[in-house]
C-alpha cells in the first residue's frame, strides 16, 4: 500500500517553498501549486532517478516544458536532497541560478525551458535515443494546458506517435488557465483527451491532486505498448490556498512578507488569507 502521507507532507512543504519564493520579485505561484502533487508523486514513486543517479544513462528523465512552474520543481528537488534547501532562499539572487525558469545549473534539472512548446520534442530525442541504445530510460514531459496553443506541441505529438515512443509520457497540468484567462474562453482545448488520443497517445484523464488516481495513471507504463502515453491531469491553479484557488489574476504573484506568512498559515489550515498586493497581468 502506497504511503500517500509522505507524498502529502512533502507536497505541502513544496507548496510552502513556492509561497516563500513568491516575494521579493515574486514567482508563478498559480502553476507551481497546480503541479506540485504531480511532481512530488512522480519523484517519490515513479521516476527511477535520484540525486546520486543524476548522470546515470539508465535513469528516467523529467522535463518541465512549462518552465514558469519551476518553484515547484526547485522545492521538490531540494526536499529530495538534490541540493540544500538553504539555496531556495537565493531565489532571484545573482548569487545563484534559481530564476523564473529552469536551467541546468540546478542539480536535478535535466534541461532548461522558458519558451513554450519545446520540451516535448527534446524529450522525444531522449526517448528515441534510449530506444536506439537499448536503455531503459523513460521520459516524462510536463506541459501546461495554455502551452497546448503552441503548434510545435502538436507537430511533436504527431512524430512521437509515428516513432512509437512508448517510453514517453506527456503530462498535461490541466489547471484550466493560460496566463491571464481560462483556456476555454480563449482557445478551447476540449475534448483534450480525445484530441491526444486521435494523435496516437494512450490517454488517461485524472484528478491531478488525487494521489490514488496518480498512482493508477502511472502504475503500468506504457499504457499501450507501441504508443506514447498522455496523462491529462485536471488540477487547480493555486491548489492548497483556498483564498486564491482558481483565480485567474493570481498566476504570477509578488507578495509582501506579511502576505507570505498569511498564506503559509492558510496552507496549514488556518483562516483564509486576504491578499492586498496588486494582481499582475503578465505577457
Amino acid at each position: 500500500m502506497t504511503d500517500f502521507a509522505e507524498v502529502e507532507q512533502i507536497a505541502r512543504r513544496v507548496r510552502a517553498h513556492a509561497i516563500r519564493m513568491a516575494t521579493g520579485g515574486g514567482c508563478f505561484l498559480g502553476a507551481s501549486l497546480s503541479c506540485a502533487d504531480i511532481l512530488v508523486y512522480l519523484y517519490l514513486h515513479v521516476l527511477r532517478t535520484s540525486p546520486v543517479r543524476r548522470e546515470d544513462p539508465a535513469r528516467d528523465y523529467l522535463l518541465l516544458s512549462k518552465g514558469h512552474d519551476v518553484p515547484a520543481l526547485y522545492g521538490t528537488l531540494a526536499e529530495l536532497g538534490y541540493f540544500p534547501k538553504a539555496r531556495l532562499a537565493k531565489h532571484l539572487s545573482t548569487d545563484d541560478h534559481l530564476y523564473w525558469h529552469p536551467n541546468r545549473a540546478i542539480p536535478g534539472v535535466e534541461f532548461h525551458s522558458g519558451s513554450l512548446g519545446h520540451l516535448l520534442s527534446v524529450g522525444m530525442g531522449i526517448a528515441l535515443e534510449a530506444k536506439i541504445s537499448g536503455g531503459p530510460s523513460r521520459v516524462f514531459v510536463v506541459v501546461g494546458d495554455g502551452e497546448l496553443n503552441e503548434g510545435s506541441v502538436w507537430e511533436a505529438a504527431l512524430v512521437a506517435s509515428a516513432k512509437r515512443l512508448d517510453n514517453l509520457v506527456l503530462i498535461v497540468d490541466r489547471n484550466g488557465f493560460q496566463a491571464n484567462v481560462a483556456t476555454e474562453s480563449l482557445i478551447p482545448l476540449e475534448p483534450l483527451a480525445d484530441k491526444l488520443a486521435s494523435f496516437g497517445f494512450a490517454v488517461t484523464e485524472i484528478d491531478g491532486h488525487h494521489l490514488p488516481s496518480l498512482e493508477e495513471a502511472f502504475a503500468v507504463l506504457p499504457r499501450r505498448p507501441g504508443s506514447p502515453t498522455a496523462v491529462v491531469a485536471r488540477t487547480i491553479r493555486n491548489k492548497g490556498l483556498p483564498s486564491i484557488e482558481g483565480r485567474a489574476e493570481r498566476w504570477f504573484v509578488n507578495l509582501s512578507p506579511a502576505e507570505v506568512q498569511m498564506l503559509l498559515h492558510e496552507l496549514e489550515g488556518s483562516s483564509r488569507a486576504t491578499l492586498t498586493s496588486e494582481p499582475l497581468v503578465v505577457r
Binding site: P57, V122, M124, G125, L128, A130, S152, A156, V159
Partner: protein, 337 residues
C-alpha cells in the same frame, strides 16, 4: 564563357558522412524529409537514420535530446526552413545548451535557384551568427566540404553547415577549424569570399591576372569563428578589399569584415559584392549568377572596374571607405551588377 562549376553532386558527402557515422557510433543522422544529400544513409545507418517528416522544429528539439544523451546529431533541412522556421529551437535548445548539434542547411544562397524568395537563404548567416558559440562552415565546393567535414562534425561546438557540394576545379589546403585558406596572392585587390561564389571569383581573378591585375583571394571557409588575421592581413596588404557573398549585406560576411576592420582600427576601402536589401531574381543558377552579376564574366568586369576606380582615386558610389576617427562610421555602398 568558362564553366567554373557543374551541378552539385551529393554522393561524396553522403558517402563520407556514412563512413564517419559507421566509424563513430555517436553520430545520428536526422532529416526533416529532405533526403537529397543523404539518399543512401537509411540503408547504411539503420536506426541511426531518423526522418521526422516535415517538422523542422521537432527535429531540432529531438536533436538536442539526442545530444543530451551523448550523441552527435547531424540534421538536414533546406537552409531557410532550418535556420528560420526552427530558429528559436536552434537558439534555445541547441545554442543556450551549447550542444554539439550539426545543422546542415541545403540549397543556401543562390543554390535555391528558381524556387523564389521563400527558399532564398540569404539571411542564414545573419541569424546563425547571432547565436553565441555557433560555428559556421561555408564550404566553397564539394572538395572544401569534404575537407572540412570531419573537423566540424567532431568539434564540440554547435555548428551550422551552409551545404555546398558544387563541383569545381579548385584544390584546397588541409582544413583547420577557424582558419581561412589563401587561394591566390596579389596586392591590387584583396578579395574575401565564402561559399558557392569562391570558385567563380577565383576564375575571375585568373582572368584579371592576365591583364596585370593581381588579387589576394581568401576563401574564408568559416564565418564563426572568423579568421581575423586573414582579414587583417588582406586589408594591410591590398589597396582595396572586396567582399563577395551570396547573402544580404545585413549580417553577412561584408558586415563581419567591417566589424573586424573597425575593431582592429584599419582604414581601407571595402567594396561589397552581395545582395543589398532585396531578394535575388529566381532562375537556374547560371542565369541567376549572370543576372545578379556573379558569373565569371560579370565578376571580372566588376573587379576590373573597382580596381580602375581605385587607381583613378575617383570615388564612386560602389567604393566605401571604412573610417573611424573621429567617429566610427560605415556607410553602405550599393553594388550594381
Amino acid at each position: 564563357m568558362m564553366v567554373a562549376v557543374s551541378a552539385p553532386d551529393d554522393r561524396s558527402y553522403s558517402r563520407l558522412l556514412g563512413d564517419l557515422a559507421l566509424a563513430d557510433p555517436r553520430f545520428v543522422v536526422l532529416t526533416a524529409e529532405n533526403r537529397a544529400a543523404i539518399r543512401d544513409l537509411p540503408d547504411r545507418l539503420g536506426n541511426r537514420f531518423v526522418d521526422v517528416g516535415i517538422c523542422e522544429q521537432t527535429m531540432i528539439g529531438m536533436a538536442a535530446g539526442f545530444a543530451l544523451r551523448g550523441r552527435i546529431p547531424v540534421v538536414h533541412a533546406l537552409a531557410t526552413f532550418l535556420t528560420l522556421r526552427a530558429f528559436e529551437f536552434i537558439r534555445d535548445d541547441v545554442g543556450i545548451a551549447g550542444l554539439p548539434v550539426k545543422l546542415v542547411g541545403g540549397v543556401p544562397g543562390f543554390l535555391s535557384e528558381a524556387n523564389g524568395p521563400t527558399h532564398q537563404a540569404i539571411d542564414d548567416l545573419a541569424v546563425m551568427r547571432a547565436i553565441p558559440g555557433m560555428h559556421i562552415f561555408c564550404p566553397a565546393d564539394e572538395s572544401d566540404l569534404l575537407a572540412g567535414l570531419p573537423a566540424v562534425l567532431t568539434s564540440p561546438a554547435p555548428t551550422y553547415i551552409r551545404f555546398n557540394a558544387s563541383q569545381s576545379r579548385l584544390h584546397h589546403a588541409p582544413f583547420e577549424l577557424g582558419h581561412a585558406e589563401l587561394l591566390s596572392e596579389g596586392h591590387d585587390l584583396g578579395i574575401l569570399a565564402a561559399g558557392l561564389l569562391v570558385p567563380y571569383v577565383k576564375e575571375a581573378c585568373d582572368l584579371l591576372r592576365g591583364e596585370g591585375i593581381t588579387s589576394r583571394l581568401v576563401n574564408l571557409r568559416m564565418i564563426g569563428p572568423i579568421d581575423e588575421e586573414a582579414i587583417v592581413e588582406t586589408a594591410t596588404r591590398c589597396d582595396l578589399v572586396v567582399v563577395v557573398e551570396d547573402h544580404l549585406l545585413v549580417g553577412g560576411v561584408y558586415q563581419l569584415v567591417c566589424e573586424v576592420l573597425v575593431r582592429r582600427r584599419l582604414s581601407v576601402p571595402v567594396l561589397p559584392f552581395g545582395l543589398d536589401g532585396r531578394w535575388f531574381r529566381p532562375a537556374l543558377l547560371p542565369d541567376v549568377l549572370d543576372y545578379e552579376g556573379f558569373s565569371v564574366a560579370k565578376l571580372s568586369e566588376r573587379l576590373r572596374r573597382a580596381h580602375q576606380t581605385r587607381v583613378d582615386a575617383s570615388p564612386t558610389s560602389e567604393v566605401v571607405d571604412v573610417v573611424f576617427e573621429p567617429l566610427p562610421s560605415v556607410s553602405n555602398g550599393r553594388s550594381t551588377p
